[in-house]
């Protein structure tokens, strides 16, 4: 907990005149610095027929800007001993660099230049469209069970457009995309007033803030409309489907439930319910299905942590001897058990300790803190909330877990996808 107190005491927030929110987290534990720019745009901002654009821009943002020519972002960061990446999910896109602390200014320069003058050109668009399609082949078409997971999201959110498609989008949409549409998407969402700049690590806050103002002040405000999520549907939205998967050797099944947004009442308890179900070899489903009955190769349970309505998922991949009806009956029984009785204090304490360790370990690196602080500022309006987050989990009681399961993890609310291997091909 001492490390969290340190985090909470060392977060400063400033908003520039152009709307850019700046989060500073000085920490001299390591002579490095991480810079993250989080834009409040993800796949939930995409219109029907124009999916995949937020993720496409995650790639386009490395194709050069007015003063950093194509490829220079990669070269400059590498030659100064740094690392970089960008990620996209449904609610935000982030770009980050980690460097020796003395090179902080380089990261600020690169991020400011592309915030102000990204090279959104037809050539870059075509080039990166091809790379994204290669990523789709690798992450989706060549991965067992992933198409089934994507189908489950469509079922859970079928009447709720922000989350009814996966972040990587439809390749048909990407193939049909016009350059003007892509440029329009950029013009709408990539602006100083829709971004959070987070800096974590070994730096002087006063001097750094001067640098930030110097580099970023000329980035234009675009008055990007705030993301507004339609109310969560009241009616249960259960549906079932079957997906044939040529990469899968054995069947699998995934359950999906629409649940409240991240950080809403009940969400913390549901996350702990997921830990009780399938996180670790002593979890309920692992012990029963993987260890004792040997009917599942693996089990997992997770939440997506959306800003809007969220999804709670439970998944099992079967063994040779596993049968779908038997495995699904076991999952149903474990969900019923969650609803019918609170976990023991000892079991919940174990889950909290797992979560506590995950939390503390995740804050070790400057990059980890920069990303999470940026996400909290973007999604929840205040990066400092992160320092109090662990306390919210530790306050969950056994009855909270039961109450949340009774409310949200009910049979009527359960969408389900069964994944079946395709029949064995005859040898060619």
């Amino acid at each position: 907990m001492a490390s969290l107190e340190r985090l909470g005491n060392a977060v400063q927030r400033v908003t520039l005149d152009n709307g850019l929110r700046v989060v500073l987290n000085p920490d001299r534990a390591a002579p490095t610095v991480a810079v993250s720019v989080t834009y409040g745009v993800g796949s939930s901002s995409e219109a029907l027929g124009r999916t995949g654009f937020a993720h496409l821009f995650e790639h386009m943002m490395f194709q050069g800007s007015e003063h950093a020519k194509k490829g220079e972002h990669f070269k400059l960061i590498s030659e100064r001993g740094g690392s970089l990446n960008g990620t996209t999910n449904s609610d935000r896109t982030n770009y980050y660099e980690v460097l020796p602390a003395n090179e902080l200014e380089l990261a600020l320069w690169l991020e400011a230049d592309r915030m102000r003058s990204l090279a959104v050109t037809p050539e870059n668009f075509e080039n990166q469209r091809a790379v994204v399609e290669e990523e789709y082949r690798m992450r989706v078409q060549n991965q067992a069970y992933v198409p089934g997971m994507m189908r489950l999201g469509e079922l859970v959110f079928k009447d709720y457009s922000p989350y009814a498609h996966d972040t990587i989008g439809s390749m048909a949409d990407l193939d049909a995309a016009k350059f003007d549409w892509v440029k329009e998407f950029h013009d709408q969402h990539y602006a100083s007033d829709n971004a959070v700049l987070t800096i974590a690590g070994d730096f002087d806050p006063e001097r750094t803030l001067k640098l930030v103002k110097n580099y970023f002040s000329r980035a234009a405000r675009k008055n990007t409309p705030a993301l507004v999520f339609p109310p969560m549907p009241n009616q249960p939205n259960a549906a079932r489907d079957t997906v044939r998967d040529h990469n899968a050797r054995t069947p699998g099944v995934i359950y999906g439930f629409m649940i409240p947004p991240a950080r809403a009442p009940g969400h913390y308890a549901l996350e702990l319910a997921g830990t009780l179900l399938a996180n670790g070899e002593s979890s309920r489903l692992y012990k029963e299905l993987v260890h004792d009955r040997a009917t599942a190769e693996s089990v997992s349970a997770w939440t997506e942590d959306h800003r809007g309505p969220d999804q709670f998922s439970v998944m099992a991949v079967l063994t040779d001897k596993g049968q779908l009806p038997e495995v699904e009956a076991a999952i149903d029984a474990q969900l019923t058990r969650l609803r019918n009785a609170p976990p023991t204090a000892q079991e919940l304490d174990k889950a909290k300790r797992q979560l506590r360790a995950s939390f503390v370990f995740g804050l070790q690196t400057n990059m980890g803190r920069a990303i999470q602080l940026g996400e909290f500022e973007t999604n929840f309006g205040d990066a400092r909330l992160l320092a109090h987050e662990l306390g919210r989990y530790l306050a969950v009681t056994p009855k909270d877990v039961q109450d949340a399961a009774q409310l949200w993890l009910t049979p009527e609310r359960a969408s389900r996808v069964e994944i079946l291997p395709t029949a064995k091909e005859s040898k060619r």
Partner: protein
């Protein structure tokens, strides 16, 4: 081969977002060798003051400055009377301690029983240990907010736990029981063996990288009797079937001994505390160092062959092009690492900039200079590409391989590569887990404590000529091993452009099912 089938809370794991770079690419950049940890921080030599915003501050990038020279943290050594070595690295940044027991035996010690080291290692935990059966052991570890992780590599087995400071003694007790008092419960062995069989059968069907690697290392480490210690990436189902409880016990008795082990403790702990705890837990452990395996030189390839691992309907092909660099102890290692960085280390490497960013042939591509304890080290170029363009991607990898071995890199390329490899140590040593891992690597590769500092300083002195010399020697593969995992019905013909194609079936023992003769005029683009 460590596997965790569970998904932690995604709030903290960021598992579900898409990234610009795949982990494979990042791993390539990391693999060339990591650096130092920051205990004493020296200021940068120059830090320009911010310019006033009279003119546009974005016109040119800020000038490069010099990173602080931060030595790798001090490693405190001790040795118990039974031969167990102890290495302690104190870092009190966070209330975290990483425990890692390293056994200097891994899959290379399988002998004629591929899979026995991995199954034995897993059984140490899965079979129960000391006062705990399998379920109680998992319950106990997870009640500490941790888990017992066991990783079987080529040259070592590493049993590790990461805990918050207050749980250090409890975690060490668990680790001690697993290493010294495994129960080898027969019922648990049967269950574990079945899980392992399911795992490799699924990998054969679902994982292009697993299937490709199985063939790649078998071909790279080809030997007359087929038993080179590094020739098996993993066990096949039929090999696993032959592993017995008795063979696991034999492997354990021979290899899990204090003379064959080092305990590494890193993080929020004083050396004296760690040493007292290690003596309390491990003093009664007995056993001698095992006889090491024999590492004969692999047989050179007399001719080029393309090994095609058939994955019907695969949307993408996973390509490997590989050969041998120098031994890990070679004085030229820093120069070879820099050459590898120029070729395919990360986002500034030629493969990324050419194969991905220019030709749009791959999302993930790179070059990896591997690190094993014995013999010459594999250099593996890789790319994942759409089925129709597989031939073009293989050509692109070969073009870049030929280029690095025949034309001197530019001075900026060498400067960039050496500075990246040197300065990135600063962030690659931020966590106690990373420091523990690097300390373990020193032990496994038999490198001195000061190695990372001298390596980093050697990188800083490299020039174009030395890197080119290293590239000419290490990247000129007479007949590189080429392995492609993809849809044979679509890509066999284009691949015959490069050499004879031998098609193997990963779901049936990797037996060759068909071959196509070399056809230099075959078009590279699949119809």
């Amino acid at each position: 081969m460590s596997r965790n089938p569970h998904v932690a809370s995604p709030r903290f794991a960021h598992l579900l977002s898409y990234g610009l770079l795949s982990l494979a690419v990042l791993d390539c950049t990391a693999a060339a060798t990591p650096p130092k940890a920051p205990l004493t921080v020296q200021p940068a030599r120059t830090l320009p003051k911010p310019a006033l915003a009279v003119t546009d501050p974005l016109v040119s990038p800020p000038p490069a400055t010099v990173a602080p020279d931060v030595p790798f943290p001090t490693i405190n050594h001790d040795k118990l009377e039974n031969g167990l070595e102890l290495r302690v690295v104190t870092r009190k940044t966070y209330p975290i301690i990483e425990l890692r027991l390293v056994l200097f035996s891994g899959t290379a010690s399988d002998g004629r029983e591929p899979g026995v080291a991995n199954v034995t290692d897993e059984l140490l935990k899965a079979g129960g240990a000391g006062p705990w059966n399998a379920a109680d052991l998992a319950e106990r570890a997870e009640s500490l907010g941790s888990s017992l992780e066991i990783e079987t590599g080529r040259d070592s087995t590493q049993i590790s736990m990461a805990v918050t400071t207050g749980d250090f003694d409890a975690a060490l007790d668990l680790l001690g029981s697993v290493a010294q008092k495994p129960r080898f419960a027969p019922l648990e062995f049967d269950k574990l063996k079945q899980r392992e069989l399911e795992r490799v059968k699924s990998a054969a069907k679902s994982s292009a990288s697993w299937a490709g690697s199985m063939v790649l290392y078998r071909q790279l480490f080809d030997s007359p009797d087929g038993t080179h210690p590094y020739s098996h990436f993993d066990a096949t189902p039929s090999e696993l079937q032959k592993v017995t409880l008795e063979s696991c016990k034999r492997w354990y008795e021979s290899n899990a001994t204090p003379e064959n082990a080092t305990l590494i403790v890193a993080g929020d702990v004083e050396p004296s505390v760690a040493e007292a705890a290690a003596k309390r837990v491990f003093s009664a452990w007995k056993g001698a160092r095992p006889k090491p395996p024999v590492f004969a030189a692999p047989v050179p390839k007399p001719e080029r062959v393309v090994w095609l691992v058939d994955r019907p309907h695969s949307a993408q092909s996973q390509i490997y092009v590989a050969g041998f660099g120098p031994e890990r102890s070679s004085p030229s290692w820093p120069a070879v690492a820099a050459a590898n960085q120029v070729l395919g280390g990360g986002v500034a490497g030629r493969l990324f900039l050419d194969v991905r960013e220019k030709r749009s042939l791959a999302y993930s591509t790179g070059s990896n200079l591997e690190e094993a304890a014995h013999g010459r080290e594999p250099i593996v170029l890789s790319a994942g590409t759409q089925t129709a363009k597989t031939g073009l991607a293989v050509q692109a990898l070969l073009d870049n391989l030929n280029q690095i071995a025949s034309v001197a890199p530019s001075a900026p390329e060498v400067a960039s590569a050496s500075r990246y490899l040197s300065d990135s140590f600063l962030f690659r040593t931020e966590t106690v887990g990373a420091v523990a891992g690097l300390t373990a690597k020193l032990a496994v590769l038999d490198l001195p404590d000061g190695y990372y500092d001298s390596y980093r300083h050697a990188l800083q002195k490299l020039d174009t000529a030395s890197v080119f010399n290293a590239a000419q020697t290490s990247f000129k593969f007479d007949n590189p091993v080429i392995v492609v995992a993809g849809d044979a019905s679509q890509i066999a013909a284009p691949l015959s452009h490069f050499a004879e194609v031998r098609i193997v079936d990963p779901e049936h023992g990797f037996h060759t099912t068909q071959s196509l003769p070399f056809n230099a005029s075959a078009p590279l683009l699949a119809p």
